[in-house]
C-alpha cells in the first residue's frame, strides 16, 4: 500500500513529462493521455481510500519514505509521503475534480493548437498538488507549494500572446513568491527551533517551544497561506489570474490550489493552537478577506472576476474557520471540499456560457440564456444554491457550521467574527443572485463580437456538460453526506482534533439568522437586477462600487507603494552602479593616466638628458655606497 502513495504522484508527473517532452507527434492524442493518467491517479486514490476505510480510525495513517533527499549535517530532508485522513480528503478532491476538469478541457480546448501542452501543464499541476498534500515534512511541502505556483503561472499565462495574460501570470507568481518567503522563513525557524521540519516531531513539540518562536512560525505560515490562498494583503493576483482558460480557473483558482493555504494552516494546527496571537491574526485575515472578496464580487461585471471574488471570500471563510482552532479545522476542510464542488461547477458553467457567447465575459451582455443552454443553467443554478447556502445543499452544511464556530469563539471576538460571517453570507447571496440574474434571466443583451458574429448560444458538448453535471450532484449532496451523523467530523478528528466551543447562540438560532440574511441578500439582488432591465454599460455607481470594481484599489495601492518606488530604486541603482561604483574605478584609472601624461614630459627624447640623469644617478649611487661604508 505505501508504495501506491508514491505512484499517486508519479503517474501525473509521468503524464506531464510525456506531454511536454513528447513533441508534436503526441498532439493528436495528448489530451486523452493526460485525462487517462489523471483518472488513473484518481483510481489509485480510491483504492487507497478503500484501504484506509478498512482500518481502525487511529491507525489509518500511512507513511512511505522514498529516499533521503538533502542530508547535510543536522539538516535532513527526506522525500517521504504521509497519507492520513486529511491528505486523503485532498487526494480525492484533487484527483476527482482534476479528472473531471481534464474531461471538460477536452471539449473546451478543442480548437487550441497547443492543447497537448495544456494537458501537460494540468498533469504537472496535479502532481505538484498531490506532492503538496502528501509530503510528510514542510520542505517537501514547499516543493509542491512552489510546484503548483509554477503550474498556475504556466496556465494563467497559457495564452501568452495576450500581454495581459503574461502579465497576470507573472503577477501571480511573484505575489506567491512573497508568500513563499514566509514559508521558507517558517521552515528555517522550525529547523533552528526543533532541528527538524518533519510534521510529526515539529507538531508534537510545538507546545513547549516557547510561545514567541511558535507565534513567529505561525505568522510566517500565515503569510505563506495568504500568498497562496489570495488572502488580504496578498490577494491581488487572483482577479487577474482569470486571464487563464476557464478550466484552469475552475481547478486551480477555485477548487484546489488556492485552498492550499487552508491545508497548511489546518496541517499546522498544533502550532497555531500553541500561538493564540498567530491564531488571532489568522482569524482577522480570514474575516477581512471574506468581506473584501464578497464586496469585490458584487461589483464585477466580468463573470469570472465575480466568481473569483466569491472564491476569495469563501476561502476567507475557510481561513476564518481554521483560525478558530480545533473548533473550526474540520469545518474549514469540509467547506473546502464542498466549495471545491460547487465553485468548480460554477466556473465550468461560466466557461460553457462564454463558450456559447463566443468568449464574451461581460455579464451585462448576457441575459436570458436559460432557455438556450438548459444543462448549464441547471447545473449552474444548483451550484448557485449551494454556494449561497440554500438549506439542504452542500454550502448550507459547511458554511452554517463555520458561522456557528465563529460565534462559538465566544466573547466580543465571537460576536464580531460571527457578525462578519453572517454579513458575508448576506453579500454572498446578493452577488451570486446578481450573477445568476444577469446571466440567465432578463432579456437578451447580446452584442456581436469584434468580428461581428452574432452570438448564437448553444448547449456545450457532452464532454463539457458531464463534468458539470457530476459536480452539480456533488454540490447538492456532498454536504449532506458529510454531515450525516458527523461522518466528516469523525473522519478528520484524529488528524485535526476537534472541540465543541460553547456557542452563545443555539445552532438553530444561527441557522435562522443565516436564512434571514440570505433572503435579504437575494431580495436586494432581485430588486436591483431582477425587476428592472439592466443597462449594457455599467452605471457609474457609488464610490464603493467604483472602488470595488477596481478591486478596492488594491492594485493602485501596490502600484504606489511597491511598484513605483521599486522602479525608481532600480533605475537609481543602475545609475549609481554606472556612475558611482564604476566611476570611482574609471576615475582612478583616468587620474593615473593623467599623472603618467605629466611624467611623460620628462622623456624629451634627447639622449643627453638621459645621460645627465644616468650621470647623476651614478653619483648618487657612489654617494650611497660611501655613506654605507662610512656608517
Amino acid at each position: 500500500m505505501e508504495n501506491l502513495i508514491g505512484l499517486l504522484v508519479a503517474v501525473p508527473l509521468l503524464g506531464a513529462a510525456l506531454l511536454l517532452c513528447g513533441g508534436r507527434r503526441l498532439d493528436g492524442k495528448g489530451h486523452y493521455i493526460g485525462t487517462v493518467l489523471a483518472a488513473a491517479s484518481f483510481a489509485i486514490g480510491a483504492v487507497l481510500f478503500a484501504d484506509m476505510l478498512g482500518r481502525g480510525e487511529h491507525d489509518r495513517a500511512l507513511h512511505s519514505k522514498v529516499f533521503s533527499w538533502i542530508p547535510v549535517g543536522g539538516f535532513r530532508a527526506d522525500v517521504a509521503f504521509q497519507l492520513d485522513q486529511l491528505s486523503m480528503t485532498f487526494v480525492l478532491l484533487i484527483t476527482g475534480v482534476g479528472t473531471l476538469i481534464h474531461i471538460y478541457s477536452i471539449g473546451y480546448m478543442e480548437h487550441d493548437e497547443r492543447r497537448r501542452r495544456f494537458f501537460g501543464y494540468l498533469n504537472l499541476f496535479l502532481a505538484a498538488m498531490l506532492l503538496l498534500v502528501l509530503a510528510d515534512n514542510y520542505l517537501l511541502l514547499y516543493v509542491g507549494w512552489e510546484g503548483v505556483g509554477l503550474a498556475s503561472y504556466l496556465l494563467i499565462g497559457f495564452w501568452q500572446h495576450k500581454p495581459s495574460a503574461a502579465t497576470a501570470a507573472k503577477k501571480a507568481f511573484i505575489v506567491n513568491r512573497v508568500g513563499d518567503v514566509g514559508l521558507s522563513i517558517a521552515i528555517m525557524l522550525m529547523f533552528t527551533t526543533f532541528g527538524t521540519f518533519a510534521f510529526a516531531p515539529v507538531l508534537s513539540n510545538a507546545g513547549d517551544a516557547g510561545e514567541g518562536k511558535v507565534t513567529a512560525i505561525g505568522l510566517m505560515l500565515l503569510l505563506a497561506a495568504c500568498g497562496k490562498s489570495a488572502q488580504v494583503p496578498l490577494q491581488s493576483w487572483l482577479g487577474d489570474a482569470m486571464e487563464g482558460p476557464t478550466p484552469v480557473s475552475a481547478l486551480i483558482h477555485a477548487a484546489t490550489m488556492v485552498t492550499a493555504g487552508v491545508y497548511l494552516i489546518t496541517r499546522s494546527g498544533a502550532i497555531f493552537n500553541a500561538a493564540p496571537d498567530a491564531q488571532a491574526a489568522v482569524v482577522a485575515v480570514g474575516a477581512v478577506t471574506l468581506l473584501f472578496g464578497a464586496i469585490v464580487g458584487c461589483a464585477k461585471d466580468d463573470i469570472k472576476k465575480a466568481l473569483a471574488g466569491s472564491t476569495m471570500s469563501q476561502i476567507g471563510y475557510m481561513i476564518l474557520a481554521a483560525g478558530l482552532g480545533p473548533i473550526g479545522y474540520v469545518f474549514a476542510i469540509m467547506h473546502l471540499v464542498t466549495h471545491g464542488f460547487f465553485k468548480a461547477g460554477l466556473f465550468l458553467g461560466a466557461g460553457s456560457v462564454m463558450h456559447a457567447m463566443n468568449d464574451e465575459v461581460d455579464m451585462r451582455k448576457y441575459g436570458g440564456l436559460r432557455k438556450y443552454m438548459p444543462v448549464t443553467f441547471v447545473t449552474f443554478g444548483l451550484g448557485y444554491l449551494a454556494i449561497i447556502g440554500f438549506p439542504g445543499l452542500s454550502g448550507f452544511w459547511s458554511k452554517d457550521k463555520i458561522i456557528e464556530a465563529a460565534f462559538a469563539k465566544g466573547g466580543t471576538e465571537g460576536w464580531i467574527l460571527g457578525g462578519a460571517a453572517l454579513l458575508g453570507a448576506a453579500i454572498t447571496a446578493y452577488y451570486m443572485t446578481r450573477v445568476m440574474l444577469l446571466t440567465f434571466f432578463g432579456e437578451k443583451r447580446w452584442v456581436p463580437d469584434e468580428e461581428g458574429h452574432e452570438p448564437h448560444p448553444h448547449e456545450s458538448p457532452s464532454s463539457m456538460t458531464i463534468p458539470m453535471i457530476v459536480l452539480a450532484v456533488g454540490s447538492v449532496f456532498a454536504g449532506g453526506l458529510f454531515s450525516l451523523n458527523d461522518a466528516f467530523l469523525k473522519w478528520l478528528e484524529p488528524v485535526t482534533g476537534h472541540s465543541h466551543g460553547d456557542s452563545p447562540l443555539s445552532a438553530a438560532a444561527v441557522t435562522g439568522g443565516t436564512m434571514v440574511v440570505l433572503l435579504i441578500g437575494v431580495a436586494l439582488a432581485w430588486a436591483q437586477y431582477g425587476r428592472r432591465p439592466v443597462p449594457r454599460t455599467a452605471p457609474r455607481g457609488s464610490l464603493l462600487t467604483r472602488a470595488a470594481r477596481r478591486d478596492l484599489l488594491q492594485d493602485d495601492f501596490n502600484h504606489v507603494a511597491l511598484v513605483k518606488p521599486g522602479q525608481y530604486l532600480t533605475r537609481g541603482l543602475v545609475y549609481v552602479d554606472h556612475k558611482l561604483v564604476d566611476g570611482v574605478v574609471n576615475g582612478t584609472a583616468a587620474s593615473v593616466g593623467g599623472l603618467s601624461g605629466r611624467l611623460r614630459k620628462l622623456q624629451n627624447g634627447y639622449a643627453r638628458t638621459y645621460a645627465v640623469s644616468m650621470f647623476g644617478g651614478t653619483a648618487v649611487l657612489i654617494a650611497a655606497t660611501l655613506l654605507m661604508r662610512a656608517v
Partner: protein, 569 residues
C-alpha cells in the same frame, strides 16, 4: 608512486590546447573536433577522479607532492577534497558544452579576407582548453604558491577570449563594438590583476611568517594547517588579518563581491555567450572556492574577525545584484547581475560558518554553474538568431520557437531557484545555514528570492511572450547541436534537484573538516527533537506529556500504528 591522476586531469586539456592551436588554419572543423575530443577525455579523467575519491577517506586524496623551488619551499603539491572534486567535475562537464555551444562563434566572418596565417577558430578553442587546464589545476593545488601562479595565469587566456572574440550581436557599429570589447577585456584584466598583486604580497607575507616561525618557510596548505593546529604556528593577530585581507581581496574580485563587481557585466556582456559562461560558471568559482580552501583554513581567526563585514557585503551583493538585474535592458548584462546576486549567496553561505551554509555554498557553486550555463547558452542562441542583445528587440519568441522558449524558461526557473531544480537546494541550505547563526541576515537574504523571481520572469515575459515581433517571426527553433548542448544541462539540473545526495555525500566531509579547522560548531536547536523517525502525529497527544508521545514514537521507529494509538490514548 601511483599514476599521477590529478596532473593528468590538468595536463590533458593543456595538451589539447597545444594540439588545437597546432591544427593548420585550413581545417577549422578539425580543430573544433580536436578540442571537443580533448575536453571529453578530460571529462573522463574527471569521472575517474570522482570514482577514485572516497568520501570517507582522508581529507586530501590522490595527493602528489614534489619539490619545485627548493629555496623557497615551493612544492608542486596536488590534492583534492570533496569540494575540489565537485568543482573539477563541474568544470570538466561544462567545458564540452561550452565548446559545442561556441561551435560557430569563432568562424571567420564571410567578408573576412582569406588569410592563410589567420586562425581564429583554433585560437578560440585552444584558449578555452587552456583556461580549463588552469582552472582544474588551481582546484587541485594545495600549495599556495602553485595555486597563485595558475590563479593569475588564468587571466591571460581569459583576456584574449574576451577581447579577441567578442559578441558579434552588439547591435552597434563595428568599431563601437571593438572599443567596448577591449574596454571590457582591459577592465577584466586590471581588476583581477590588482586583486592578484595584492594577493601576491600576502603570499610573500605568508612565506615570511612561516619562515619566521617554522624555521623553513613553506607554502603547503597541509603543513601550515597542521602547524597551526599543532600550535607551532600562531601568527600575530594583525599579521593574520592583513594576510587574510590580501587573500580575500583577490578572491572577492574574482568572485565577484560588491563593490568589486563592475568588471563582470562588461566582460559577460561583450564576450560571446560560451565565454560568458566560462567566466561566471567556471573561472569565478575559483574565487569562492579559494575563499573556502585558503581564506578559512589558513586564517581561521581572521576569517571569524572579518565575518560580519563580509556577510554585509554579501547581502548587499544579493539585493543589489538582483535590483540591477531588474533594471537591465541587455539580456547578458541581466544574467551577469543575476550571477552577482548568486555569488552573494555563495559567499554568505561560506562565511555563515555552518555546515548547511558551507555545504550549501559548495553545492551552490556547482548548481549555479550548471543553471547559468543553461540560461546563458540558450540566451546566446537567441541572441545569435536575432542579432541583438536588447530585451526590447524581442517578443513572442515563445510562439515561433517553443523549444527555445521552454529551455530558456527552465534555465530561468533554475536561476530563480525553483524547488525541484538544483539551485533551490543549495540556496535553501545557504539560507538555513545563515539563518541558524544570523537570523536577521537570513531573513534579509530571502528577499533575494522574490527579486530573483522578478528579474527572471520580467526577462521571460518581455522576450518570449506577448505578440510576435516581425523581426523574430522567421526565427528558427533550436537546432540539434543546440539541443545536445542544452538538454543534458537541464537533465543535470533536474537530477541534482531531485537527488543531490551523491554530491552532498562527497562534499559533506570536506565541509566538516573546514568547520573543524575554523573550529566552529553548528548552533544547536533550542528545543532539539530526538529524531524519532516518523510516527502518526495526533493532536490529542498534546494532553499527555509529549515526552511520552516522543518516547512512544522512539521505539516504534518508522512503524506507523501502535505508536500513534499509544500516543493518542
Amino acid at each position: 608512486m601511483s599514476f599521477p591522476l590529478l596532473t593528468a586531469t590538468a595536463l590533458v586539456p593543456a595538451l589539447g590546447a597545444v594540439a588545437t592551436a597546432a591544427v593548420p588554419a585550413a581545417q577549422r572543423a578539425a580543430a573544433k573536433w580536436v578540442a571537443l575530443g580533448f575536453s571529453l577525455v578530460t571529462l573522463a579523467l574527471a569521472a575517474v577522479v570522482l570514482v577514485r575519491f572516497d568520501p570517507g577517506g582522508a581529507h586530501f586524496q590522490l595527493t602528489e607532492s614534489h619539490p619545485w623551488i627548493k629555496d623557497f619551499g615551493v612544492r608542486y603539491e596536488l590534492g583534492v577534497d570533496g569540494i575540489a572534486v565537485a568543482l573539477i567535475a563541474l568544470t570538466a562537464v561544462l567545458i564540452p558544452f561550452i565548446i559545442l555551444a561556441g561551435w560557430h562563434d569563432a568562424d571567420p566572418l564571410e567578408g573576412a579576407r582569406p588569410n592563410r596565417r589567420w586562425r581564429p577558430t583554433q585560437g578560440f578553442f585552444a584558449l578555452i582548453l587552456m583556461v580549463e587546464a588552469m582552472v582544474v589545476i588551481s582546484f587541485e593545488a594545495t600549495d599556495v604558491f602553485l595555486f597563485y601562479i595558475f590563479f593569475e595565469a588564468m587571466l591571460i587566456p581569459m583576456y584574449f577570449l574576451i577581447g579577441g572574440f567578442g559578441d558579434r550581436a552588439g547591435g552597434r557599429s563595428e568599431e563601437e563594438t571593438a572599443t567596448q570589447r577591449s574596454y571590457a577585456a582591459v577592465k577584466f584584466l586590471l581588476y583581477n590583476l590588482a586583486g592578484g598583486l595584492i594577493m601576491l604580497a600576502a603570499v610573500v607575507g605568508l612565506y615570511a611568517v612561516t619562515a619566521d616561525q617554522l624555521g623553513t618557510g613553506t607554502f603547503s596548505l597541509q603543513e601550515i594547517v597542521q602547524a597551526r593546529t599543532g600550535g607551532h604556528l600562531d601568527m600575530a593577530t594583525s599579521t593574520e588579518r592583513l594576510l587574510f585581507l590580501g587573500f580575500f581581496f583577490a578572491f572577492a574580485v574574482k568572485a565577484p563581491l560588491w563593490p568589486l563587481h563592475t568588471w563582470l557585466p562588461n566582460a559577460m556582456g561583450e564576450s560571446t555567450a560560451p565565454v560568458a559562461v566560462l567566466i561566471t560558471a567556471v573561472v569565478d568559482k575559483v574565487g569562492t572556492f579559494a575563499m573556502l580552501r585558503f581564506c578559512l583554513q589558513l586564517f581561521p581567526e581572521a576569517s571569524k574577525w572579518a565575518t560580519p563585514a563580509i556577510l554585509i557585503l554579501a547581502l548587499i551583493s544579493i539585493i543589489y545584484g538582483a535590483l540591477l538585474a531588474i533594471g537591465q535592458r541587455d539580456i547578458k548584462r541581466l544574467i551577469a547581475y543575476a550571477s552577482i546576486s548568486h555569488f552573494g549567496f555563495i559567499i554568505l553561505g561560506i562565511f555563515a560558518m555552518t555546515t548547511q551554509g558551507q555545504g550549501g555554498a559548495t553545492l551552490y557553486m556547482v548548481n549555479h554553474g550548471v543553471s547559468t550555463a543553461a540560461l546563458m547558452l540558450v540566451a546566446g542562441f537567441l541572441i545569435t538568431r536575432r542579432g541583438s542583445r536588447l530585451i526590447a528587440d524581442y517578443g513572442g519568441v515563445q510562439k515561433v520557437a517553443p523549444v527555445l522558449a521552454g529551455t530558456f524558461l527552465i534555465g530561468g526557473l533554475a536561476t530563480l531557484s525553483l524547488p525541484g531544480l538544483a539551485p533551490f537546494i543549495s540556496e535553501f541550505l545557504v539560507l538555513v545555514g545563515t539563518f541558524s547563526r544570523y537570523p536577521v541576515f537570513g531573513v534579509i537574504a530571502t528577499v533575494g528570492i522574490v527579486l530573483a523571481a522578478l528579474y527572471v520572469l520580467i526577462l521571460y515575459q518581455r522576450t518570449m511572450t506577448g505578440p510576435v515581433k516581425d523581426e523574430v517571426r522567421s526565427m528558427p527553433d533550436l537546432r540539434v547541436r543546440e539541443l545536445v548542448v542544452v538538454a543534458p544541462l537541464i537533465a543535470l539540473l533536474i537530477f541534482l534537484g531531485v537527488y543531490p545526495k551523491p554530491l552532498a555525500d562527497i562534499v559533506n566531509p570536506a565541509v566538516d573538516h573546514t568547520m573543524s579547522v575554523v573550529d566552529k560548531k553548528d548552533p544547536k536547536p533550542d528545543h532539539p527533537v530526538t529524531d524519532a523517525g516518523w510516527f502518526s502525529y495526533s493532536p490529542k497527544s498534546e494532553g499527555a506529556s509529549h515526552g511520552g508521545a516522543q518516547h512512544e514514537g522512539a521505539h516504534h521507529n518508522g512503524a506507523h500504528h501502535d505508536g500513534a494509538s499509544g500516543g493518542a490514548k
